[in-house]
């Protein structure tokens, strides 16, 4: 009987505490006093990808006088699961009127949060579903980073040419390596544009690609880069978010075209250049739109023009001579619309020219193509939605493994 008494006392005490907090628990509202913004990140500052978002978010928030912990919040290490939904709703509870998330797998949970809190805007980078969900407060964004990678690829091609001219390698040995995360469109579009950039200046270039199955796995990325180097790749680039590939390249003395930002500090003797998406223009655009009461489009694609696509820190010590000029020239042509990255005359698929392609723009479990994307002789990337949908295997690129 004694146990029962104890238990009864404890249950009553617990109920009282619970009741007290329930009474206190009413949602705060700071929203009327201007912008309160939240950012949800998959990893933390140690990931080059997340750091790129965090820096841009801080820059955009501080430019309009927001204060961290009061009018803007950053949550790091939020997995791509229910935790994302919970954190998004937590942001709403903190009084946010706009919540951003940075990882592809956050999308479904952001949609759930958007359904539940219609007064708050939810903006998801790299996602694909906003244009089919038809939620007025849910938005996708991306940037034409394939143009940035194309330009970075030119730097890689110039370096290959230099190595050929110096007699270090033959034309046939101009093989690059690429460490990717997963085998879906965002990564495929990325390495293909990089490759096309390199081949536009070095016609004999080929490339091998390996996948890690993770966005952030330093060991696997390092091993992947090392494997490519052992396989005879003379230049490495990557689309995964740790320092794995750059450090492997530095150790092996193999030039590296980086991503997400400069890695010159860790690899001063091998780093050539990096392309990155600058998210600050998007953050500013969204917050401006909310303040002005203007509509935010379901898809927003940043470009070279909006300064969303940037190349960072060309390393003159490693890059070939004339790289800066070649990139400037390509940039001018891209801006003027004279140059298309996925110009169908510059690549073949299974030996044939690409004349038509139905891309899976409206995501569905069967991956069915639904939209014709080859128009006037070019594959129009990020035109029908912001996130990339180029998922073709073009000739000249060898996939070493496709387990992921």
């Amino acid at each position: 009987m004694k146990t029962f008494k104890k238990i009864a006392v404890m249950i009553i005490a617990a109920a009282m505490v619970f009741g007290m907090f329930t009474a206190l628990g009413t949602a705060q509202t700071k929203a009327d006093e201007g912008i309160v913004a939240g950012l949800i990140c998959l990893h933390d500052e140690n990931s080059t990808y997340d750091l790129n978002f965090i820096n841009a978010f801080k820059e955009a928030c501080e430019a309009r006088g927001l204060v961290e912990g009061e009018t803007y919040y950053i949550s790091t290490n939020i997995p791509e699961g229910q935790e994302c939904y919970e954190e998004a709703m937590n942001m709403v509870d903190r009084g946010c009127n706009v919540v951003f998330a940075d990882s592809f797998g956050h999308e479904d949970y952001m949609i759930e949060a958007a359904k539940e809190a219609p007064e708050v805007h939810f903006c998801h980078a790299t996602g694909t579903k906003a244009h089919t969900e038809n939620l007025p407060n849910y938005h996708n964004a991306f940037a034409s980073i394939y143009e940035g990678r194309f330009m970075a690829g030119i730097a890689a091609g110039m370096k290959l040419n230099e190595m050929i001219a110096e007699g270090k390698i033959t034309e046939e040995e101009a093989k690059m390596g690429y460490v990717g995360a997963f085998t879906y469109a965002e990564v495929i579009s990325g390495y293909t544009s990089f490759f096309l950039g390199a081949r536009s200046v070095c016609p004999s270039a080929t490339m091998e690609v390996t996948f890690t199955g993770s966005w952030y796995d330093e060991t696997k990325e390092k091993e992947g880069a090392q494997m490519l180097i052992n396989d005879g790749c003379v230049l490495i680039s990557q689309h995964a978010d740790s320092m794995g590939a750059p450090t492997a390249c530095e150790a092996a003395g193999v030039p590296d075209v980086s991503y997400n930002g400069s890695t010159i500090a860790a690899a001063p003797n091998t780093y050539i250049i990096s392309s990155r998406i600058n998210w600050a223009p998007y953050y500013t655009f969204v917050m401006d739109s909310i303040e002005a009461g203007a509509e935010i489009p379901a898809d927003w694609t940043g470009t070279i023009e909006t300064e969303s696509v940037l190349l960072t820190d060309l390393n003159d010590a490693v890059a070939a001579e004339g790289t800066a000029e070649a990139i400037e020239e390509a940039k001018a042509k891209l801006l003027a619309g004279e140059l298309q990255v996925f110009d169908a005359s510059t690549f073949t698929v299974e030996g044939a020219a690409l004349e038509t392609y139905m891309a899976d723009v409206d995501t569905d479990p069967a991956y069915e193509g639904d939209t014709e994307v080859v128009i006037d002789g070019a594959f129009l990337e990020s035109n029908f939605r912001s996130a990339p949908y180029f998922d073709l295997q073009i000739d000249g690129i060898t996939l070493l493994d496709t387990a992921f």
Binding site: K2, K6, I7, M10, A14, F18, F21, T22, L24, G25, T26, A27, Q28, D44, E68, G69, Y73, I74, S75, T76, N77, P79, E80, G81, Q82, E86, M89, N90, D93, F104, G105, E107, D108, Y109, I111, E112, T128, F182, T183, Y184, A185, V187, I188, G213, S214, D360, T363, D364, P365, Y367, D391, A403, F404
Partner: protein, 363 residues
Amino acid sequence: MNRIPLIHISRRKDIVWYKAWLIRIVAIILALVLCGVITMVTTGLNPIKVYAAMIDGTFGTTRRIWMLCQNIAILLCISIALAPAFKMRFWNLGGDGQALMGALGAAAVMILLGDKIPNGLLILIMVVVSIACGAIWAVIPAVFKARWNTNETLFTLMMNYVAIQLVAFFVIVWEVPKGAGKIGIINQNTNAGWFPQVGGSKYLLNIIIVAVLTIAMFIYMKYSKHGYELSVVGESEPTARYVGIKVRKVIIRTMVLSGALCGVAGLLLVGGTDHTLTTTLVSGRGFTGVMVAWLAKFNPIYMVLTSFLIVFLQRGAGEITTAYSLNQSYGDIITGIILFFIIGCEFFLNYKVSFRKSHKEVA
């Protein structure tokens, strides 16, 4: 010189319950003081404000209280699943894998049968499949233990990794879109296989189910013949055999129950709240549940308190890292210190520390 030692440690026979709670409360206060000092020294923040943020992060809004209860419910479900096995001295470290298998079963039914059959039938199949999956994952090491006396600690532990790899495999099979390595929310538009909302909350049904299971487990362990048998097996197998208990049967039966309840936890995660399948879905609750069960001395009712404590610390640590833009490791340090004190105070509950009475006599 034959000196009486300064500190004398002796085993306590019994401790009055209010004294036990006093020791626990003192331990928590000491932990909070130490955390406060560390907070001030390393971050310069006011520790009272930090604690306030932890409380706000857990109880600050109605939604946060719901999430707290939901997280308690899932952790508690796994903890009560582990309790009978541990009481039987069967070290079931496979709670993670068993819950994950339950989740895999439920997700498989949702994906494969999604819109093909009525929702009620679908949910019924999910329940059966996930309970079966969890039970099978637990009964394999149990049979090996009962038949060939294999080491169940290693066996159950390794079964976790097999389960994780199986889930990783099926995530790639069912990924959307191709190559993304993620399933995303299953049946997001049709809601097929999603548990109905009770009382306007997506969490309430889970909480009610776990509350019922907790009470049932309390009664099972304390008042049923099965419960008595498994505690005898735990105390001494020869005694159990001597009094005519079929030890093998008890081991297998208890592990089926343990695994089935872990399967229920996986089911509640997939069908009730998360509606997805990832390798990190259970997020180590199979191991945290061991701590919850031990701290509560395998009493399911006490486990409500211990699981509350663990969830509160996790949630609070998450809040302070965001509110004060600290690194996540800071939250882990705070959680670690508090848990260290709470587990450490068990020593003072089991042993009595007496100091030497008077210095003068010795000198």
